[in-house]
Structures are given as structure tokens and as C-alpha cells.
């Protein structure tokens, strides 16, 4: 079930109201049943994968508490192998097989294994990692084994974060699920506000960006540099609003029922370095890899070359986690390389900053760092979004092409054609000139462009205000009538722009992982 679907508009209030009406001892049953229903709205039979994972990890948890030494390690290995085995089979088998087949063809070998006709279970990477974190934490002694099978199942399947995270840790969630939650006005309404804001990001901004991204990325060879650059920038906004929008809805819907999920995004595009970006983007996954891969590899408490290796390999695997394709591997490798290079060149940048006296202009330095980080991240998104490696390489190699013709055409449009419109010549000509790459522009597409720009401005203003302080808290200081108008306006905007012209709900990008 999609958060941005009509079905969820019914599902959520029904589940929430029933939740608060039920005595505490029955609530886990309701949430588990609702989570099963939520998951089975996609492909019902894949619930069996979750059933196997949960059963194995339930007994693994009990075993990990019971055994010590080698036996304990064997139990952990069994759990890891089961979880990773599921992931490997459903997500990576075809990828590995196709690459082996290509290799065999290259060296002229007969390779008889065919790819499997399987559809990737929705959110597999998310719930596998969440389940894994349970057994690892029990192994490390930081979490007691859950004796109630239903609660462990709920920990893995809790519907707000089942299919796209945040990837939770048992210490944060399990005790909250056990605790009796009461209806608290402030908590419930704040949760609903987060959900509304998430919907705004998804429906009003991310889904609008699709209009600029898909036509170009679906067939990049038909476009030159300006369109490729513009579509890539639009994708950077789309993926942020799509994924952080999902996380906001997940956090909000869990908060309504008294469960506080971990923060998954913290204004990532305001980051001043790639390492800071990863402390702000998909935080639950970054910390997962940090805790369960990077630190066990030695983290940064090793010689520099080994440290660089640890970082690079962590990001390479993170790329592969996102998708079984070389484009994702390269995306991960790019981020790994950015980080390794930033470590190796840190003294150089510090000296350069002193030499250019940039260190005396902290605001300018922050602006340059933030913009550089944003462009590096956006460049890497090309590999994340492109349909194939050849498409990605085409885009990268053509980013600089066609600018002369574009600028000449834009200038021509601006001075020759734009000012013929009498109602608002300035705006009309600017829109025509900037978006000449998307010709033919229609009356309506011009309006959609302007409305999208307005939505983006609103998004940036809210993001900046949130970055500077607790916006919800500030809003609470305002008079009641003003707050009501703000909330009603937000909902009205979502409702007005809540349906795309194609009448197709855009699924959340991270569902595919």
C-alpha cells in the first residue's frame, strides 16, 4: 500500500482509531494484522519471506541468549546467512548470474544457468537489515532476546517503516511497542503535521519533478547538456523530497500511535562535506553500515590506507544494497571515493583556505563548501537514476554539450518572442527562455513550471526555518486561528495538487530497494 494512495487514507484512520479503542494487550495483534495487510497489498505471497526471517531470528535471539562462545557465534552466523541468503537470492541472483553469463560469453564458455523470473519483494533490503540488527544487538548483549513472537514480528513488520525504513534498532523500538501508549493531543497532532508535510514533499514537489526528470532520463541520447543538467538537478530534488517525504509520513504515523522512530533525514543538502551529508542523509542506513560493517572492519582506528579502504568498501556495499546494478555500485564507489579523497586532501584544502584567506570569510566558505557538496552529490545521482550504465556514461559525457545553442536560443526567446505577451512579459519570457529545452512549451506546462517553482520556494523556506530551529515549536507559539489556517492551507494545497494528470500515483523511489 502506498502512503499517497486513497486506500491509505482509509487504512490509517481506521487502524489508529481501533488502536486507541483497544485494550493494550490486544494492540500488538491489531498492528501486526494491519502490517500484514499493508505489506500484502503489494504481492501477498511474499509475506512468507517475512515469516521465515522472523521465525529464524526469533529462535536465533533465544539461542544467542542461551549459548556462549562458539555455539553463540554459530547461531549468529545462521541468522546472518538466512537473512543475507534471502536478500542474495531475491535481489542479487539474477545480477550475479547475468554477469557470469556475460563473462562466460566473453571467454567463450558454455554457461547453462538461466536467470530467474522473480519480482523483487518490496522493501526486502529494509526489513532484512532491521531483522539483522536485532540478532546482532542480542549477540552483542545490548538487547535482550524478545520472548514474545508477536512483538518480534511487529518489530520487523511495523507498517510505518516496513517497506522503506527508517531501519530501526531493537533498543529504540521494542520497548516502545511494549509500552502502553495513551492518546496525547500534542503528540498525535504533531505526528499528523509531519505526515502532511511528508505528503507535501512527495505529492507537490517530488511528483512534479518527475515531469522534468523522466522525459530526459527515459531517453537521454535525445537531449543535450542543458536538459541533462536540468533533469539531474531536478532528480536531486525529487529523490530528496520523495524519500524524506516518505520518512516524514512514516515518522508521523508512528508518532500518532506513540512510537518515536529514529530521524532519517536532517537537511542533507545543507551539508558542508560529503561525510556530513552522510550524517544527514538516510541516517538509519548510514548508521547501520557504520555500526555493523565500518566499525567491525576497524573504522578509523587503523592506519590511513586501511581507513580509506574501510570507507570505500562500506560505500561500495552501500551502493550494492540500493540495487543490483553496476550503476548503483558506481554510485557507491563515487561516494566512497569522495570521502577517501577528502581525507587524503584535507591538509591541502586547509592550506588553500588559509592562502586564499577564505578562512576569514566563514560565510563564503560555508556557501562554497555547501554548493560543492551539493554538486558532487548531484553528480553521483546520475548513476543512481540512469536506467543503464551506458545511459549514465552518455549523460556524464554530454553534460557540457549544447550550451552555446541553448544560450543563443534562450536569448533569442527572451528578447524576440517573450515580450510579445502582454499580461506579464517578464515572467512569460523568462519561463520561455529558461525552459526552451522542453519545447514545445504549452500554456499549461508554463503554469506547472511556475507552480513547481513556488512549491520549491516554499520547501526551501520551510527547510531553512527547520534547520535554524524547531519549526513546530515556533508554530505552537502562534495564535490558534493562524495555526488552523496554516494546516488547512497545507492540506488544501496537497489535495489540489494531489493528482497527477496521468492519474497514476507515483510509487516511492525507495520502495524498489
Amino acid at each position: 500500500m502506498l502512503f499517497n494512495s486513497a486506500a491509505f487514507l482509509i487504512f490509517f484512520p481506521v487502524v489508529t482509531i481501533t488502536y486507541f479503542l483497544l485494550p493494550h494487550r490486544f494492540r500488538w495483534m491489531l498492528l501486526l494484522a494491519a502490517s500484514c495487510y499493508f505489506y500484502m497489498a503489494f504481492i501477498p505471497k511474499y509475506i512468507l519471506i517475512l515469516a521465515v526471517t522472523i521465525t529464524v531470528d526469533y529462535f536465533a535471539g533465544l539461542g544467542l541468549e542461551k549459548f556462549e562462545g562458539r555455539k553463540k557465534r554459530w547461531v549468529l552466523m545462521a541468522s546472518i546467512l538466512t537473512n543475507i541468503g534471502m536478500l542474495a537470492f531475491f535481489k542479487y541472483f539474477n545480477f550475479a548470474n547475468e554477469n557470469l553469463a556475460s563473462l562466460a560469453k566473453f571467454i567463450d564458455w558454455n554457461y547453462p544457468v538461466h536467470s530467474l523470473a522473480i519480482i523483487l519483494p518490496i522493501g526486502l533490503s529494509f526489513h532484512t537489515f532491521q531483522s539483522l540488527s536485532y540478532t546482532i544487538e542480542v549477540y552483542r548483549g545490548r538487547q535482550k532476546a524478545e520472548r514474545h513472537f508477536g512483538y518480534l514480528a511487529l518489530y520487523v513488520m511495523y507498517y510505518p517503516q516496513l517497506v522503506a525504513g527508517p531501519i530501526e534498532r531493537p533498543q529504540n523500538i521494542l520497548h516502545q511497542l511494549h509500552t502502553e501508549q495513551r492518546f496525547e493531543y500534542r503528540r498525535v497532532t504533531d505526528g499528523l503535521k509531519w505526515m502532511a508535510w511528508g505528503m507535501f514533499k512527495k505529492i507537490v514537489v517530488a511528483d512534479r519533478m518527475v515531469l522534468f526528470v523522466n522525459p530526459v532520463y527515459n531517453d537521454p541520447t535525445q537531449h543535450s547538456g542543458p536538459a541533462l543538467v536540468f533533469a539531474t538537478l531536478a532528480f536531486a530534488i525529487q529523490i530528496y523530497c520523495d524519500f524524506s517525504g516518505y520518512s516524514d509520513i512514516a515518522l508521523g504515523s508512528a508518532q500518532v500511535m506513540g512510537v518515536k522512530l529514529m530521524k532519517n533525514f536532517d537537511h542533507p543538502y545543507f551539508a558542508r562535506s560529503i561525510s556530513e551529508f552522510w550524517r544527514r542523509w538516510h541516517i538509519s542506513l548510514s548508521t547501520w553500515f557504520r555500526d555493523y560493517l565500518y566499525i567491525p572492519l576497524g573504522g578509523n582506528r587503523v592506519p590511513k590506507p586501511r581507513w580509506a579502504f574501510n570507507l570505500f568498501i562500506t560505500f561500495l556495499i552501500s551502493g550494492l544494497w540500493h540495487g543490483a546494478d553496476w550503476t548503483y555500485v558506481i554510485w557507491g564507489a563515487l561516494h566512497g571515493s569522495y570521502l577517501v579523497l577528502s581525507i587524503l586532501t584535507e591538509p591541502f584544502w586547509t592550506r588553500l583556505s588559509v592562502l586564499t584567506r577564505l578562512d576569514r570569510l566563514p560565510r563564503l566558505k560555508i556557501a562554497i563548501s555547501t554548493l560543492t557538496t551539493f554538486f558532487l552529490v548531484t553528480f553521483a545521482w546520475i548513476f543512481f537514476r540512469a536506467a543503464s550504465l551506458s545511459d549514465a556514461l552518455y549523460i556524464v559525457s554530454h553534460l557540457a554539450s549544447g550550451w552555446h545553442a541553448y544560450l543563443a536560443q534562450s536569448w533569442h526567446t527572451l528578447v524576440q518572442e517573450g515580450f510579445q505577451n502582454t499580461a506579464n512579459p517578464g515572467l512569460y519570457s523568462i519561463v520561455n527562455a529558461v525552459f526552451t529545452i522542453f519545447t514545445p512549451l504549452t500554456e499549461e506546462s508554463r503554469t506547472v513550471i511556475v507552480l513547481t517553482a513556488l512549491a520549491l520556494i516554499l520547501l526551501i523556506v520551510i527547510e531553512v526555518l527547520q534547520y535554524r530551529g524547531n519549526l513546530l515549536e515556533q508554530l505552537h507559539q502562534k495564535p490558534v486561528y493562524l495555526r488552523r489556517i496554516v494546516y488547512a492551507s497545507l492540506i488544501a494545497v496537497i489535495l489540489i495538487f494531489g493528482t497527477s494528470y496521468a492519474s497514476v500515483q507515483q510509487a516511492f523511489i525507495y520502495f524498489q530497494f
Binding site: A423, R446, I485, A488
Partner: protein
């Protein structure tokens, strides 16, 4: 009731009411665009309501509104003729509306674009076109194939289109009608014919691609619908005929003579509605077309109408 629950209930009701008020004001405050090509559908409905029977009603997409001269037919045949053609994107919804206005003695000549016969969603039509069409007459929501299921989506699109149109007017001036210089709702004659294009030359319009007509993979749904439509018309004392849309020579060539013939054969086999158009009259030289493979210019429209009149007279003579 606990204080927190009561406070939540009160604030939720307040926010819902405020939101509903905002949406309602927006929805009702932005009126339908009088310049829109679909504004002509109000004239069509009025003609269907007020023109006395017996009469000839021409129904279908824009191949009818652009390509048949009801006024000329009326003059030559001496009975009232209404051009009820509008847009193929509306699917079969206008025919559902027409069912309501059929009276004893009426003759209905349906001319549906070939694309509709291969269009999988023919029963529903395009939601954007439908929302524009319904905006002029909200009761048309009942003519959707599944009104209860489709209505929320249609109203959502309508609301969004209204806002876009209003924003467009504020920002740039004018409506969203893409080529409003010609395709405007005021350019219909008293018989419901669209006449906005008659003074234009085809040369000014975009090049028409010579793509084949999709006359393969015909959908069952449309034949079932037409059979049902024919039955209802017969029950009301009316007669239904099918007129094949005039086809551009280049597109006919791309489609192939054999496939066009196969379409006629299939239609005759699967429908009890007689076809008025002889196969050899379907394809017309490119010079008779205006801006699409279905829209005729003034000369093409005259030729097609005269042939239709002749064919009609022949059918009437044969019946006698």
C-alpha cells in the same frame, strides 16, 4: 470523553471545515473557461434538448465536428441536423449522454475515430478531457463508465485544471486552451458544427504524421457498447448508422488497403449497425485535411458532407 480526545476532535473538525471551505471556494470560484473548445458542448446539449424530432444527429469525435457540415445537410435534406461531434479523447461518454436525448424518429449517424476501436480504455476516455467536459455540465459525471469509482479522480483533476487556468490567467493572461485563436467555444454554428477552422489554410498548421490507423487489435468493449447503444435507440424508435471517418491518403497508405477493408468487414460482422460509407470513399487526398489525420478543412468538409448526403439518400431509397 478525555480532554485530549475532545481537543483533538474539535481541532480536527475545525481544520477539516476550513480545508473544505478553501477547496469549495476555489472550486466554485473558478468558472469554466468560456473560450475552451469544449464550451461548444453546451450548445450541443441545448440543440439535443430543443430540436424537434424527427432529426439527424451526427455523433462522434472531432472528425465529426470538424468534418461534417450539419447545416448543409439540413438544407439539402430538409430535416433538422445536429452536429454533436466533439473530441475522441472523451471516449464513449458523449454517446452515453446522447442516449438520454434520443427520441422517436431520430436518425443517429455515429462516426468514431479508428483509434477508439483499438483503445483499451475506450469505455473510460481520457480523464483530463473528461474533467474539462464535465466542468461545463456537472451532471455529466453520470456518463462516466463507473461514476462512483472515477468521480473523485475526475474532480481532483478538474480542481487542479481550474487552479492552473486561474494561475495562468494571472501570470500570463489567457486560458489554457492551447490554440485558442481557432479552437474556441464560440466558433460553432447554429447546427453545432465547428467552424473556427474554415477560414484557415492547412499550410499554417503543423505537419501531420503519416502514421497507420490502428485498425488492428479491435477491442470487444466498443462493439458491446455500440450494440447496446443500438438496442436502446431502437427501443426509443430511432435508427443508428455508422459513418467511417474520412481518412488521409498518406495515413490510408500507411495502414494498407487490406487492413482498412478488414476493419469494415470486422465491423459488419460484430455490429448490427449498418455502415453508410463505401470503402472506396474513405480515403481522401491529403489536401483536404486541416491539422490532424481526422480534421478536414473547408473543402474536405464539403466533399465529405456531400458524399454523406448522397449515401444517405441511397440508403433511404433502398429502404423504400
Amino acid at each position: 470523553m478525555p480532554a485530549d480526545v475532545r481537543a483533538f476532535f474539535v481541532s480536527t473538525v475545525q481544520v477539516i471545515l476550513l480545508t473544505a471551505a478553501m477547496i469549495t471556494i476555489t472550486f466554485l470560484g473558478i468558472k469554466p473557461d468560456p473560450d475552451h473548445y469544449f464550451a461548444g458542448s453546451l450548445l450541443h446539449t441545448r440543440l439535443l434538448e430543443t430540436t424537434a424530432s424527427p432529426r439527424i444527429i451526427l455523433a462522434g469525435g472531432s472528425n465529426v465536428s470538424f468534418g461534417i457540415d450539419a447545416e448543409l445537410m439540413q438544407r439539402k435534406l430538409g430535416i433538422p441536423v445536429i452536429n454533436d461531434g466533439l473530441h475522441a479523447g472523451l471516449g464513449l461518454a458523449p454517446l452515453r449522454e446522447l442516449e438520454e436525448y434520443i427520441r422517436d424518429g431520430d436518425v443517429i449517424i455515429i462516426s468514431l475515430e479508428y483509434n477508439l476501436f483499438a483503445y483499451q480504455d475506450v469505455l473510460n476516455g481520457d480523464p483530463t478531457f473528461l474533467s474539462d467536459w464535465i466542468e461545463y455540465s456537472p451532471r455529466r459525471i453520470q456518463y462516466l463508465s463507473k461514476p462512483w469509482k472515477e468521480a473523485p479522480g475526475i474532480y481532483a483533476i478538474m480542481l487542479q485544471r481550474k487552479v492552473n487556468r486561474q494561475v495562468n490567467t494571472v501570470l500570463f493572461g489567457g486560458s489554457l486552451n492551447e490554440v485558442r485563436d481557432i479552437f474556441v467555444g464560440t466558433k460553432y454554428d447554429l447546427n453545432g458544427d465547428f467552424i473556427g477552422h474554415l477560414q484557415e489554410t492547412s499550410m499554417n498548421r503543423r505537419k501531420i504524421p503519416a502514421t497507420p490507423y490502428p485498425v488492428l487489435g479491435l477491442q470487444d468493449d466498443i462493439f458491446v457498447f455500440l450494440e447496446n447503444f443500438n438496442r436502446i435507440a431502437h427501443e426509443k424508435g430511432a435508427t443508428v448508422y455508422f459513418e467511417a471517418p474520412a481518412s488521409r491518403q498518406s495515413n490510408c497508405k500507411a495502414t494498407g488497403q487490406a487492413q482498412m477493408a478488414d476493419f469494415f468487414k470486422t465491423f459488419a460482422e460484430r455490429s448490427s449497425i449498418p455502415i453508410l460509407t463505401p470503402l472506396d470513399e474513405v480515403c481522401l487526398p491529403n489536401k483536404y485535411f486541416f491539422d490532424t489525420e481526422y480534421h478536414l478543412n473547408a473543402q474536405g468538409r464539403k466533399l465529405r458532407t456531400e458524399r454523406l448526403i448522397e449515401n444517405w439518400i441511397k440508403v433511404m431509397a433502398a429502404l423504400k
